[in-house]
Symmetry: C2
Subunit: 420 residues, 2 copies
Amino acid sequence: MNIRFYNGKICTMENGTAFVDELWTNGGKIAYVGASKEADIIFDREIDLDGNLLIPGFKNAHTHSGMTFLRSFADDLPLLDWLHHQVFPMEAKLTPEDVYWLSRLAIMEYLSSGMTCNMDMYMADEMARASIDSGFRTVTVNGLNNFGGSVEETEAEYDRLNAMHERIGACLGFHAEYTCSPELLKEIGELVNRRRLPIFTHSSESLREVNECLERTGMTPTAWIDSFGIFNYGGGAYHCVHMTDDDLSIMKKRNMAIVSCPGSNTKLASGIARIIDMLSMGIDVGIGTDGPASNNCLDMFREMFLMTGLQKLRLDNAAALPAEDVLKMACVTGARIMRLTECDSLAAGKNADLTVIDMHRPNMQPVNHEIKNLVYSGSKENVKLTMINGEILYENGEFFVGEKPEYIYQKANEIIDRMR
Amino acid sequence: MNIRFYNGKICTMENGTAFVDELWTNGGKIAYVGASKEADIIFDREIDLDGNLLIPGFKNAHTHSGMTFLRSFADDLPLLDWLHHQVFPMEAKLTPEDVYWLSRLAIMEYLSSGMTCNMDMYMADEMARASIDSGFRTVTVNGLNNFGGSVEETEAEYDRLNAMHERIGACLGFHAEYTCSPELLKEIGELVNRRRLPIFTHSSESLREVNECLERTGMTPTAWIDSFGIFNYGGGAYHCVHMTDDDLSIMKKRNMAIVSCPGSNTKLASGIARIIDMLSMGIDVGIGTDGPASNNCLDMFREMFLMTGLQKLRLDNAAALPAEDVLKMACVTGARIMRLTECDSLAAGKNADLTVIDMHRPNMQPVNHEIKNLVYSGSKENVKLTMINGEILYENGEFFVGEKPEYIYQKANEIIDRMR
């Protein structure tokens, strides 16, 4: 499909948040972005944006898609209680086929929120299959820990998933220091250094986790993990709510990114991360929804508002983290963290991964400032169209994901009925 | 219009959050709520809820509708700077006709978020006119202060607005202690005690406001206002972010409610209110969006998530303020605070003010718990229908408010263009 978008406000995110008029796709790629001009290709469809905003898709840089079955299942519990007494026992009952359908459900929600890819830590093959079948884009991360997987399997998964499909990638990963023995962390370090690859993990999400690590090892999670050489080739850590200055220095030195999940950190009462300090040190910070078990929704609009709002509260400064910076984290930095540099902005030759925001809704009017309207006032109701690799997967509330929504809902409800 | 809603999950909020199947309207009233049975009235329309959730409408217990023109105009500033240097100078350029159209825009946004009424502090006559013309329900509150209005005008407005229309009410009000001289506060106290009426005001929104009041008067805003006898007949205070134990005791003793605005308090970095303490003392707590200049969106879903999420963060307790309690604040307590006890729950004889929540969306699936899905995962995309006084004003994304949405957007943009 070749599609022409015209008569819009197209924010390429190439140079800040200036607008151009027109964008053309050619198959899965962007063919042209700029002022209106005569086309040298024949379009299958011409879409009048009618003044609507067109942006690079949002990047969900940390989630667990297969956990949709736990949405609203065990709310209002602290992180480690929730994980050990609610999440792990229920997860033991999951089949791979369950995870496939639960991931398809999550993908629908990502699309309805304008997200065009996810970095996912769950059963990678099932997530990848769901993503391929839905037309979505995914980078998987292994959740290796003491109770599941091995370093050999992690390495094999990395190679298998990276060779699988043009819309699927994989990064090395492990669950967290608190679920991995020192022996396992040593093996992980050896893998990283042998393959010279970036790696991703949960880290410093709750104060209890940090304190227990300090008691156990005499080091913070960041320092402890780093002591195994695991961060030698960069990558990223999820959450990083409770970080010392030394921790942040290690992250910077190792070229490690941080993916912040303010919705999940709020709902689990984990705390507010030091985003402004991270950014001022030059650490890349992306945004993740975390899984639907903890958040509970998969909504980049909520995350963007919380990202800036919680910094304002934390620093007692209403000027902290302006809207433009938040949008850059959601669209551009997230892509860089996921190694999806071909999806980070709108430019000729890049992947056609984009979102159209409906400005013809009361929450987007009047238009004093498009980007502030988007970040401070936007909601899922404003997502008019989500395109991945040149294919429209969501438009005007309808899903084009190769399966009927009601069938996917039915599958998800059958899974929770079976578990009860 | 007589309408039958059937085949749904109808949460009456009469007895917690249990569900019934069916609800009938007869003109502006609810004729029946309960199990399916033979109808004794003829319906103009029968709506198959298809398993969707039907709830009493959300009550927006504090807002300034006319301020939609300032959405995204001057973000990222602390409260008092923002108010004195951005808001007040722009407001001086507003005409009553402007406020009418800006209020109509806000009403559309309320409807799209499932809100069925607002308690509004702005130009009351224009707000009321916009509400009447749109089919909406409004309780106005006077914003009396040193720079505008008088006690005589406030009293006259109270009587005029209360006699105006069945969907319009009014309460006494004044802007805040920091914009009212002691002489004016004395006059306000005399009015309250002569008429024996509840009164509403902003109070203790920012720490600076509290500290300046302490310096000026030796008392907190709550104690200072109360010293004039202003709280003798109850009413409510907006925000109440920085309250001492003594302040809360005064509120309880005077039967004063509190309307919390967590979105605005976050965006302006005002702080996190002591909601759990207020509730445990038996103080009524409602939810407001505050005006679009500070929030910036008018979205009860955002407010509900923040209401519980910020308490979890504040108290370091993921179990704080469960979903059911938040929904009660949004639907029931807000109505009580606004003196709209005929709109607080769904029961025969009460006003037909209600909202249908679309469960056939990915963020509402699977259905482990309807109310938790709603509070933790709900968004404007889930509002399928909003009814006020038996009339459907919003359904499937379309507005039925007596004017074309694009015309209202045009008016709002003309106003901001003129001011630039």
